[in-house]
Amino acid sequence: MSTTTPVEMPVHKSQWQGSKKLVNVSRARNFAWLHVTEARLRNMMKWWGSIAAFGLGNPVLYLFSVGIGIGALVDANGGSTQLGGVSYLTFLAPALLTSAAIQAYQDETSFPVMEGFLWDKNFFAMNSTPINARDIVNGVMASAMVRTLVTVAIYEGVLLAFGAITFDVALPMFFSAILAGAAFGAVMMAVTTFVKEDDGFFAIVGRFVIAPMMMFSGTFYPLESMPSYLQWVGWISPLWHGTDLGRTISYGSPQQPWVTMFHWVYLTIWLAAGLAFAYRQVAKRLSA
């Protein structure tokens, strides 16, 4: 700051109107969650290059290596009889799509919470405006959804290009993947609010939650082929429920209607419970 600053500089050029005139409280309240989303998206736009690159790179890599590479071994071995008669690639596609949705949601729900409460503390900044805990949760979830929509759309494009899914199932698969992602994301957000110190939380979650979920949710092979003492991981995880739904939608993997129904309901309950939990936790942390 220079020492020659003219002291008579005016504070404001324009007329000071005052917040009573300037801020429309009911409008600010009604769109509060949207303003949080807007801020999150603005932040995300700084990384759009990485998001696009990972969004495209991930499916291409996995489809080439696991889908086609391992798929060649599986199909050569006649493994498709265990997969309900479809090729390994077709079997794998819904699982990869769902897990991509879950990962996108995970990124966009856990990092913002760390940033908001620990790194930048910008949730506290938001909370000093008309924005509430609930608006923050809704806003973050909505921006995570935008990011996931983009990711899933890219993924489906790649899957279509590989012939792993057909065009007519793309839209319904969108819903199952996004719902599974949102269900996981809401809970992830609530859980992240418990982190008080940045001491390897992500390493622990990655190793003890994400990795086993990816590995044991019937992602790469039918859940039934795991020993029964490991199958419970799949029954709990939203990834398996989303994947199983996706498989029914994609290639009509045989399923009782009530099971299909149950998957939708189960994921919705996760989402609702996660949101309620997150509302409570964020409010608690903001007022502490």
Binding site: T5, L22, V25, A39, R42, W119, S128
Partner: protein, 304 residues
């Protein structure tokens, strides 16, 4: 603007704010003073309507913050003790983004942001990321951010901690101008000169309670004398000398390194000491300040 009656905040079994009463009137600059842990920040958070009180009454702009927090916050400008800028956003984006949280229109913000950049003297830094700013620049940006909604009440939690002297003086000038425009200021600070400069009225808090209330001049008159005489005889002799001169002034205080004599006329007392044949190593007569009041009320021991 703000009325508190028996305001209390309890965390578990710890009482951070213990039934305090105060009032802040429109257009005045109101200060909260106190050592660390006195309950200033908790009080600020309750006024900022982000932390709910556990007892007593609190009304801000005629509204109850426990029930209508967002509505009150629409008219507040908050400058927290710790800058919570969005480090990944650029300087001007930080202001814009914050303004959007109030639902302010993009068009309005376009001009407002430029104005605030000028106010904070960050126009040249507008395209730097917030994390690249120096400490003083971050502070100025946080303060400018708190003005984006042209608040009725501006709340500043230790606004000049970490700023260099130039920056502090410029900030004081800015705050004074805001006050002239009718903005109510609520300020916590450690710096007594800052409180004397800025505050019309202040409360001194300690251990969650109010120890004193009044204007700076008022408090000095009530809790300190007009002048203070400081004499040093060397750390080993201070105690001994102090007993000989304890009749001087209203009150004497012996510190490890010097003796303070609170009196109406320091020069006279100094002459008296010299007449007794005592020869201080150094001596100083000064006007008493808010710092004397503060230390008298809250003690000299460190509270952490």
């Amino acid at each position: 603007m703000i009325i508190a009656r028996g305001l209390t905040k309890v965390y578990g079994d710890f009482t951070a704010v213990d039934g305090i009463d105060f009032e802040v009137r429109k257009g005045e600059a109101f200060g909260l003073l106190g050592p660390n842990g006195a309950g200033k920040s908790t009080t600020m958070k309750m006024i900022a309507s982000v932390s709910k009180r556990t007892g007593g009454e609190l009304t801000i702009l005629g509204l109850d913050p426990n029930k209508r927090g967002p509505e009150i916050r629409a008219h507040l400008g908050v400058v927290p003790q710790q800058d919570n800028l969005d480090r990944e956003l650029k300087v001007h984006e930080n202001l814009f983004s914050y303004g959007r949280f109030f639902g302010l229109s993009r068009k309005f913000l376009k001009n407002k942001v430029e104005e605030l950049l000028e106010f904070a003297q960050l126009t040249e830094k507008r395209n730097s990321k917030a994390e690249e700013l120096s400490g003083g620049m971050k502070r100025r940006l946080t303060i400018a951010r708190g003005l984006v909604n042209e608040p009725e009440i501006l709340m500043l939690d230790e606004p000049t901690t970490g700023l260099d002297p130039q920056a502090r003086h410029i900030l004081w000038d800015r705050l004074f101008r805001l006050k002239e425009q009718g903005v109510t200021l609520v300020i916590t600070t450690h710096y007594m000169d800052e409180a004397e400069q800025l505050c019309d009225r202040l409360i001194v808090m300690d251990k969650g309670k109010i120890m004193a209330e009044g204007s700076p001049a008022d408090l000095i008159k009530r809790y300190a004398s007009k002048e203070v005489l400081e004499v040093r005889f060397g750390s080993s002799k201070n105690q001994e000398v102090a007993e000989q001169i304890s009749h001087l002034g209203h009150r004497t205080e012996v510190l490890p390194d010097r003796i303070l004599i609170y009196s109406e006329n320091g020069e006279e007392d100094l002459q008296a000491i010299l007449k007794m044949g005592l020869e201080p190593v150094t001596s100083l007569v000064r006007r008493s300040s808010l710092e004397d009041v503060f230390l008298r009320l809250t003690g000299r021991t460190l509270v952490e």
